[in-house]
Symmetry: C2
Subunit: 380 residues, 2 copies
């Protein structure tokens, strides 16, 4: 079966006066409009949302039904920050049964209505309670990975900073991004230490936002889009929630396994990928995923960022959207927004940040400190 | 494709010293043991959990992976109190792709670790924020339905009480139930008013608990169980979250639509059902569902309960497990526990509460005030 993205939608990311329901509706309407469809003709809807505590709202399927005044099969899935990738996977399974032809996937989170300290407590629920009890919040878990990576591969904080600088640069070219501000290596290194060696500008922000993709199967794809982008590979893997259960701190086993599955299914190899949206919740995560997905060898990511190979214009542009770091990270929306960017890049319509000769793209969406990973590969 | 339940598991419902992870593990291990399987041979796991606020834990898939020290495709779904039914549906879709052979479905909630007032606030997130703002908590929403039902059909509070009395009676025969206490109509009517006409004994309790079912496809079914119980029908429907958007307060459109779908798929008619587990979060809900599922005509449910037709021994035993009212209502577990009861009844192994000649059983799991409904039909 051939499954394609036939519509995409995304709100601007960043603090927004709009409600959770309004954000979700805006992104959905864009994706539907691109395919010229009304919600009534969609067979099912998959929603990604991380925590009901940000907006005091569970039961999002029924909220969606209210927004569109519709009766339908609507599902919410969650697996921390990988909720978006997971919603896409469940939509793909629905299509693969042959019982559904058109499925909408919507990711949404509204994170800025609560205080930063409340947000930190909410984010902590994506981690191991035992680890959190000892003060290991997400910045500190990723700091452990970063410190080990720097030591093991003789890398420096400058290599981490280069990821932030690149992603902020890319975000300046993306009208939907949270930040439109170029930053320098010096600024990153001088920014406030959050959990050494990670500084404020190594961390993704709290954002509001929503993203949507409309998937269609087989004959519907050509009917609904003149530029359908096909799903070629998908891997979903979950492993233990604790970082302490991991043999190495410099790689994420779920990303390795999900990546292998996605490449195997697609028939593509890492060297075939023209652009990738990786899950840079912290700068170190982008370096680790570059290696876990075999774009480069372990320890080699630092050379790639030193030589700008992952910038737009380089061999393998990574996070041309600006990534979580600078496009923003409204958690439930993130995995879906990665797909939106890759699809729009492969369609060739993203203006100044267009990656040249973009034929095959990859998304890597992780949850927690890597307990969940969803990797997808798309091509024309 | 034939899909069957080949293993069931359920913890005792009610306040428990066990953690969310321990409850989830216990139910899962029972279901796996019944089929003689280890978790390693299961292709995917679907988890149902309502709110991360009860146990400060999102990212349950990775918690599950930790409990079993396993790497796997694990998904969490949520749609308020219908999370369990929804997890079953997603597991069925996975099997229907033909890419999975054995899928575990686990529902869990630990509700008693927080105060009752906190629990009430958490439960409110399953409803419309607009309605909640005006004080319309779930007891008051169901009270509106109850009041309208009593007026419209000239029924009395005694008819509501009869549902509670029956379900408490059934629960006394169920070792896994939250309550083992017979109650009288007089006691129900004399219990504290929560939201008139609903009194304390018209309401389901806050419970801890987990339930699990192992599903298998085609040839695997006979290999894994000598008493496989087959899924014959399934309907999932979502509609607007607000009660105010409903044309009538005496029926739930999602239940009607999901029921029709399930009956159509199964080839069975309402009169073919030998027992049913309905979603009696409040006593009125059981009466409404009896009518929406066409077991009896609108307004006729009161005659059925007056004449004990829905007791074990009657024409159509409803909630032989004790139902949400008396077996308990650990939200994420509820939809899965309904299936556990129906499957065990159809296998003929539930002792004193065994329904005679039980060949076809139905489960109805709803979310919120009926915004979501999942109806399933099983037979030998």
């Amino acid at each position: 079966m051939k499954i394609a993205v036939v519509g995409t939608g995304q709100t601007r990311f960043g603090p927004s006066p709009k409600s959770l329901a309004e954000l979700m509706t805006e992104a959905s309407q864009q994706a539907l409009a691109e395919a010229g469809l009304k919600i009534q003709s969609v067979d099912a809807v998959y929603l990604a949302n991380f925590s009901s505590r940000f907006s005091q709202q569970c039961h999002l399927p029924a909220v969606f039904a209210s927004c569109f005044e519709v009766g339908k099969e609507i599902v919410r899935v969650e697996s921390a920050c990988a909720a978006g990738g997971l919603a896409l996977k469940e939509a793909v399974l629905a299509l693969q049964t042959g019982r559904y032809q058109k499925v909408l996937v919507v990711g949404v989170e509204k994170m800025t209505a609560v205080s930063t300290s409340t947000a930190t407590r909410i984010l902590a629920t994506a981690g191991s309670q035992e680890e959190q009890k000892h003060g290991a919040t997400f910045p500190s878990l990723f700091a452990l990975m970063a410190q080990r990576y720097l030591d093991h591969y003789s890398a420096s904080e400058k290599h981490l900073a280069l990821v932030a600088v690149k992603n902020h640069h890319h975000a300046c070219l993306n009208p939907q991004a949270h930040f439109h501000r170029k930053i320098t290596i010096k600024e990153v290194l001088a920014s406030r230490v959050v959990a050494s060696p990670l500084k404020l500008l190594d961390c993704s922000p709290l954002s509001d936002g929503a993203a949507a993709v409309l998937l269609a199967a087989d004959k519907e794809t050509a009917r609904l889009s003149n530029k359908p982008i096909f799903l070629r590979g998908l891997g979903h893997e979950v492993g233990p929630i604790e970082l302490t259960k991991r043999k190495s701190l410099t790689s994420m086993p779920t990303v390795i396994r999900a990546g292998k599955k996605a490449f195997e299914m697609s028939g593509f190899k890492p060297e075939d990928i023209d652009l990738a949206e990786l899950h840079d919740c912290f700068t170190i995560a982008e370096l680790i995923q570059m290696e876990d997905l075999a774009f480069c060898r372990p320890g080699e990511a630092k050379r790639w960022v030193e030589t700008n190979r992952t910038q737009i214009g380089g061999d393998l542009p990574i996070n041309p959207s600006g990534g979580l770091k600078a496009k923003g990270h409204p958690i439930g929306a993130t995995g879906v927004a990665q797909v939106v960017e890759v699809v729009r890049q492969l369609q060739g319509g993203v203006g100044k940040r267009q990656v040249k000769k973009a034929r095959v793209g990859l998304c890597c969406n992780i949850g927690g400190s890597g307990g969940t990973a969803v990797v997808t590969i798309f091509s024309q």
